[in-house]
């Protein structure tokens, strides 16, 4: 995918709410990012604390081009996300984006497989695919939760939904791949985002079923734009420029074809 222009702004928080005990939904006003973002891209959020030097990468969950706003859905896991969770409407936030490549949308019958906090970017993807004309029953979405569901109703409107959870508290007990197998969900290509063990399972599943799969990866980041080489992932083939078997998640990714990367 060709690279999009990146912006860095002090943007304004529109509103924030809680989806579950520890998952927050944050709307931010940023027309440039809203207009340029593609499904699978992410932003860097900067914390206010000057003791924290590094940006937090968060996927774009939704955009509203009319209002010029973007939505981020994230789990509170550490110092930065805790700080973000206290933001409310009107407050400023430093943001850089849109970053990364995003998914390749060319697909007639997609299967979206999202686990945990990998689910949010799939919402933007599903909406975009739906807007491109893919009918609800051909737009398969498998969501894997830890325990409590979130964003579920929004997917239900446009997609054929399958659910699993670690605990079995909601949907089938197990992960998204177990769910795909047991509910026999198939399609033309897979789009996935979630924790690495899940992506590993998706990769295997895609290989066994000979379906192309795009996986969105996570790595710790510093620059977020490809300069520092903090965020590489191992690849099957040497990188064209770097000559070694790694590629940058922030710039060459976060989305890779399953066969490109070694997880």
């Amino acid at each position: 995918m060709e690279q999009t222009k990146k912006f860095m702004h002090v943007a304004e928080v529109v509103s924030q709410s809680r989806l579950t005990e520890d998952i927050c939904s944050l709307w931010i006003k940023d027309r440039d990012i809203a207009e340029n973002a593609r499904p699978g891209q992410f932003v860097s959020l900067f914390t206010r604390a000057d003791s924290r030097m590094l940006p937090r990468p968060i996927s774009i969950c939704e955009t509203n081009r009319n209002k010029g706003t973007i939505r981020l859905v994230y789990r509170i896991v550490g110092s930065g996300t805790k700080e973000f969770s206290c933001l409310s409407g009107g407050e400023p936030i430093e943001i850089m984006g849109p970053l990364g490549n995003g998914y390749d949308l060319n697909c007639k019958e997609p299967v979206l497989m999202g686990g945990g906090i990998g689910i949010p970017p799939l919402l933007m993807l599903a909406k975009e695919l739906s807007a491109m004309g893919i009918p609800k029953k051909q737009l398969h979405v498998i969501l894997g939760y830890r325990d409590n569901a979130f964003l579920l109703d929004e997917f239900k409107k446009i997609a054929d939904i399958h659910i699993s959870s670690d605990s079995g508290a909601i949907g089938r007990k197990g992960n998204v791949v177990d769910c795909a197998r047991e509910e026999d969900v198939t399609g033309e290509c897979i789009f996935s985002c979630g924790p690495t063990p899940m992506l590993r399972a998706v990769k295997r599943y895609a290989y066994e079923n000979d379906i192309p799969a795009q996986l969105s990866l996570e790595e710790h980041m510093a620059c977020g734009i490809g300069a520092c080489l903090a965020c590489v992932t191992r690849t099957a083939e040497p990188d064209e420029h770097f000559k070694v078997n790694t590629r940058r998640v922030c710039k060459d990714g976060p989305v890779f074809y399953a066969e490109e990367v070694e997880l």
């Binding site: 222009k5 590094l54 790595e219 300069a227 903090a230 420029h241 770097f242 070694v244």
Partner: protein
Amino acid sequence: MADLSVNFCGITMKNPVTVASGTFGSGREYDEFVDVNRLGAVTTKGVSLTPWEGNPTPRIAETASGMMNAVGLQNPGIEEFLKTDIEFLKQKDTRIIVNVCGHSEKEYVGVVERLRDEPVDLLEINVSCPNIKLGGIAFGVDPVALEKITKEIKKKARQPVMMKLSPNVTNIAEMARAAVAGGADALSLINTLTGMKIDIHKKCFAIANRTGGLSGPAIKPVALRMVYDVCHAVDVPVVGMGGIASWEDAVEFIMAGATMVSVGTANFRDPFTTGRVIDGLNSYMEKEGLASLSEIRKIL
């Protein structure tokens, strides 16, 4: 506009601000945010004779007012570097400082020789690389090894040679004197302090390499002290760095004796840092009525 220019080893830099090696790539990626032409110089990431893989991930971790990295000097090797990075930089109106790394004298010298006829203004030699012969200990922590490698490099280099000192030593002035005895035309410091972080929940090192190099505002006091010590021990010009994030920080380093300053980790927090530092220095000079930064250099 005040006259921000400085003379560094006979090279005129339009201002004293460059970037710390490894934090800015070769400027191609930051070009979207920073007008690279405004920088006094771009210091490239480290380049070696052949492609280097670097370390496994996680390569970085955040720390209080700082970060650690163990990128491990991943780079595509000198040939690809010339084709892409130098090709990009030579179209810019800024000086080019190439950061050189190697595992042995031969590797360093190989890169330096290859750069002889390239449009490169200054060589910065990163001696914090693991020295194969010394069993993986860095060249930069042993004054004898440092003097020797400086000599070998000087024999082959066409551009002025700047040795980049490691702060992980008992006596930084001794290291500076060793580099100068070996013929160094300039010095830059500090590289990162070796640190460690443990993930107590996963019971593992936060960085795959176990240890990483600490950088950022956290280390600024150590960096400033070492720059001061070095500038008062030897007479070659110095590029000061370590936690610089504002023009005030830059002035501190200049007052301690630095001729140029590098912005490193601060680029990650705010990609516009270099521009803010340049603008701030300009206003400062105008307000103080300084004709040249040399009026405040080493005033302490």
